[in-house]
């Protein structure tokens, strides 16, 4: 049960595991997959309302100072949104939906580094939230018209006169079909189908410009027609390869690579696929093999240690974000359109240093009530109390030997637990 909760959400607390144990596996899975009628945590962390994009006020005649001012304002907005999202991940009660949103963000891997507008990034998150649990068709159709994605992959530069293939290629390779399920000719024809959509960088809105669109006949994946963006998106989403590919990506992130994805995971919508994934016998065998992504590691720890980022002093909040930066996974900033790496790529000497530092910040910020649960145990029992607190199934001899000498120093014990192989790899 703890295994399911660890993977389905950002990191369960001991109390959540207890409640799930009482409810039983079937009821727990149902509860995880059903959106609750109310989510107090989400309600307490509403999406920030942002003022207009600071760039909207700029004209050709704006001065250098005005531009710098607008850039600084944009950075501030992005910082605000990043901090909000981190806080939401910690606060939300519907942990499955929040983690699924992060999955989709890494899947469509759009970075604020190029998009630069907080409003566009928030807009994309809202689109992913709206369609993330449902069937693929509406999701892909919405994403090919998502302004952040269009800016990210040069869609606005893609015109009838000479199509820009960037979006069409990544759409098939990384977002829907996977490599090998389409030809170079499909990329070229797909780019033509996507022509015509432009983003107004001032308002952040997308619009269709007929003049830029290529209305001609196209042949894509063996089908001919006058494909436009929507029809092309529909064609892709309807390919059996798309459902299989996306199910494989879900398996990759939720179950890892140590065990291959079983056949037949793909369901009618994403929630059905996720249900099949968690119900697969092979899923149970993946315990102890999945390297937590840094955001998963940090958000899980924040939840288990009773820390709300928004309640921290600014300096500590910045230290947490600096930690994610050093770990190379900052929300809204995937390194490339291929998304974040996985597995042992996160296990480097560099990332270990960042984890050690961040674990120190987390241990220092741990709520006194949570710390009291550790210190309530007799010194000899504290490694076990720590395992319960961090929802680790148990320590091996190596880690127990590392933890035992720290039992008298609860905050150091906490920090050591957070960097242990058992906690880092779930």
């Amino acid at each position: 049960m703890a295994h399911l909760l660890r993977r389905a959400t950002f990191g369960p607390t001991a109390d959540e595991v207890d409640a799930a144990e009482r409810a039983g596996p079937a009821a727990t899975l149902d509860r995880l997959l059903t959106r609750p009628a109310t989510d107090r945590g989400a309600a307490a962390t509403p999406v920030p309302t942002l003022p207009p994009d600071p760039y909207a006020g700029l004209t050709k005649d704006s001065t250098r100072e005005q531009r710098q001012q607008a850039n600084a304002e944009r950075r501030k907005q992005l910082q605000q949104v990043t901090e909000w999202w981190l806080d939401r991940m910690v606060a939300a009660e519907d942990g499955l939906t929040e983690k699924l949103l992060f999955f989709w963000h890494g899947h469509w891997a759009t970075s604020a580094q190029k998009v630069k507008s907080a409003r566009l990034m928030v807009g994309q998150l809202e689109t992913l939230r709206r369609h993330g649990r449902g069937p693929l068709g509406p999701l892909v159709a919405a994403m090919v018209r998502d302004p952040a994605l269009i800016v990210w992959l040069d869609g606005q530069k893609n015109t009838r006169k000479a199509p820009n293939e960037n979006l069409a290629r990544e759409l098939m390779e990384l977002f829907t079909l996977g490599i090998g399920a389409y030809s170079e000719a499909d990329v070229k024809a797909g780019a033509r189908a996507l022509t015509g959509w432009v983003v107004d960088r001032r308002t952040g809105a997308v619009r269709f410009e007929t003049k830029r669109h290529d209305p001609g006949e196209k042949s894509i994946l063996g089908q001919s027609g006058r494909f436009d963006a929507e029809a092309y998106a529909g064609l892709l989403a309807a390919q059996p390869a798309a459902a299989t590919f996306v199910a494989g990506r879900l398996w990759f992130r939720y179950a890892g690579t140590a065990t291959p994805a079983p056949d037949g995971l793909a369901g009618a919508d994403t929630i059905a696929t996720v249900r099949a994934l968690f119900s697969a016998p092979a899923f149970a065998q993946t315990r102890g093999t999945l390297v937590k992504q840094p955001v998963e590691w940090l958000v899980g720890a924040l939840r288990q240690l009773g820390i709300r980022p928004s309640a921290l002093p600014e300096q500590q909040r910045r230290q947490l974000l600096a930690g994610l930066n050093a770990l190379d996974q900052v929300p809204l900033r995937p390194p490339s359109v291929g998304g974040w790496p996985a597995g042992s790529a996160w296990l480097t000497t560099s990332s270990l240093q960042a984890r050690l530092r961040t674990a120190g910040v987390l241990a220092a910020a741990t709520a006194p009530a949570v710390l009291a649960r550790l210190t309530a145990a007799p010194t000899a029992g504290r490694p076990d109390a720590l395992a319960r607190l961090l929802v680790v199934d148990g320590w091996g001899a190596r880690t127990r030997a590392a933890l035992t000498p720290l039992a008298g120093e609860p905050r150091k014990l906490l920090a050591a637990g957070l960097v242990s192989p058992e906690y880092t790899v779930s």
Partner: protein, 413 residues
Amino acid sequence: MDTVTRRRFLLTSGVVGAGALAAGAGAYSLRDLLDTGGDRDPQSRTLVLVTLYGGNDGLNTVIPYGDPAYRAARPELAYPDGEVRRLDDDFGLNPALAGLHQRWSGGGLAIVRGVGYPKPDRSHFRSMDIWHTAQPDRPGNTGWLGRWLDRAGGDPRLAVSFEPALPPLLAGAVSAGAAVPVTDRKAAKGLPAATLTAFAAAEAGESAARGRAAACFADLRSVDEMIRQVRDSADPDTADPDGEQAPATATGGARTPLDAQLDLVAQCVEAGVSTRVFSVSLGGFDTHADEKQLQAVLLGQLDRALTGFADRMSRTEAGRKVVVAVYSEFGRRVRANASDGTDHGTASDVLLLGAGVRGGWHGAPPSLTDLDDGDLKYTTDFRDVYATLLERVLDTDPGPVLADWRGRVDKLF
């Protein structure tokens, strides 16, 4: 670091082979370590591999300005004859490559033309996987230098990257190179050394990923020790992810400026560390639109970083044993797209400079008119370059690393 200190460090570090731990095989003895990762042969060379992420447009790097087909294919994007930095009557360098042009004139720059692989893949990620693994048919999960590291004893200090995540090319089957952060120079660990040492032990029956997590603790100690002594003069980077030096594109690359990475390499080389391979990178070359200016900015960074590094290296005995190789996962289409950019293409150039490298042209230039679906046909297999580097720089038989690949780039050294 002077020799005596380093020798003492090697004797006392108690390094444990990362790969052996990951495989659950237990620790090397100190004697094993000294036999494998031990003191560096002063004659041995060092390879610095520079990866340009995003697919650098080779035709606007080494420019075939003498070929009318070049200008015909990309009227807006082509450089006029007068701007090209002339190499000969047919080819010239991008105007941003002033320093490299100067090195060429002195015989210090080698250009291998038309480097690629059969059945080119135009996906960044697949193509980069292919370059990292040197397995074009089916990229596996080990990098070519990782496989070299496996055979060289597996000490992570032999193959170092100054990027936060380990580049796949340094991942071996049983060992992995070390990713060393440029930033965060303060140790600030907070946990006692004994705890970190305890975490480094192998645990029987543990998953490979947990074994690797434990091995990181062992690697950290050894690498920390080595790096701490050489990088104190490195510039601290800011923690602000918006502090961009170059325009962002969607295909990644290290965020640390290339010159800062090479500065660390220089310090390590001058200190005589045991590292034989350094991996550095520059990202942002995925220039589908408005390519000319973007590429010029990036090539300017590359030029300044490379020539500054090469000049510095020429001043010390250890530095004169360094070979630099620069590559990207593919070139770009011959024909421009309408956004004044180019889409993903195929074969491109590999640039080399440093110890024993014979300057001038290597390999045949691909034709601009005899194309494969709009793309250049490669003339030199990239494994020829790798095999030559393994043989001539790393003193290794390339056979076991490159699946018995026989090709070489003749007269490159």
